[in-house]
């Protein structure tokens, strides 16, 4: 299932995550909302925070698993 796969990719990229959620926005298995709150994101610009998420999900973004991605990130200290 795509949600679990994306979650595990994000867990690997953000082992320190305090909040990590992947939601299937439409139930179709290709439109996702990703929420990550992690200390390792703090101090980064919004652009770099989203870049970290995009990098973690590079493969499903490339192969079309993810048709649409919404990202919400926050750094904590």
């Amino acid at each position: 299932m795509a949600v679990e796969h994306l979650e595990s990719l994000l867990r690997d990229a953000f082992p320190d995550a305090e909040e990590l959620r992947v939601e299937d926005r439409t139930g179709g298995g290709d439109h996702f909302q990703v929420t990550v709150t992690a200390p390792s994101l703090s101090g980064l610009s919004l652009l770099d925070q989203h870049r970290r998420v995009n990098d973690a999900l590079a493969e499903p973004l490339r192969d079309g698993t993810i048709h649409e991605l919404r990202i919400k990130t926050r750094g904590t200290t």
Partner: protein, 126 residues
């Protein structure tokens, strides 16, 4: 480097605000592109839109230039600002206006018009 990539770079580097989107401002074809466009409009930005749908090569070449994997993509003065979520967040917090003022000058709203550039066309035809 391809001619198409040159034209994409030309838009990014020379347009005050470039929005690569699915569809055009008059006929938006995707919810995320719509959110980015709305954010830019709310901030009063001059928007130069490029529709990436007519040819998959546009998206590929754009990704090579920007390193950003999703559409839409917003650039201000040649620099990537982000996609729909970032544009929306920055618009809501007022940071987008701040950034536009910083990079385009205080009077940026006065010259704010929307236009569409076809990167597939010969430059002379634009």
């Amino acid at each position: 480097m391809s001619e198409l990539q040159d034209r994409i770079k030309d838009v990014i580097e020379n347009e005050p605000v470039a929005l690569f989107m699915k569809g055009t401002p008059q006929f938006v074809m995707c919810g995320n592109s719509d959110r980015a466009l709305r954010a830019l409009r709310e901030a009063g930005a001059p928007v130069t839109a490029v529709n990436i749908l007519p040819d998959p090569a546009i998206r590929q070449e754009l990704q090579e230039v920007s390193g950003w994997p999703t559409i839409p993509q917003v650039f201000v003065r040649g620099e990537l600002v982000g996609g729909a979520d970032i544009a929306q967040e920055l618009a809501e917090s007022g940071e987008l206006e701040e950034l536009l003022r910083e990079r385009l000058g205080d009077g940026y709203r006065e010259a704010a018009e929307e236009k569409v550039v076809d990167v597939l066309a010969e430059p002379a035809q634009r």
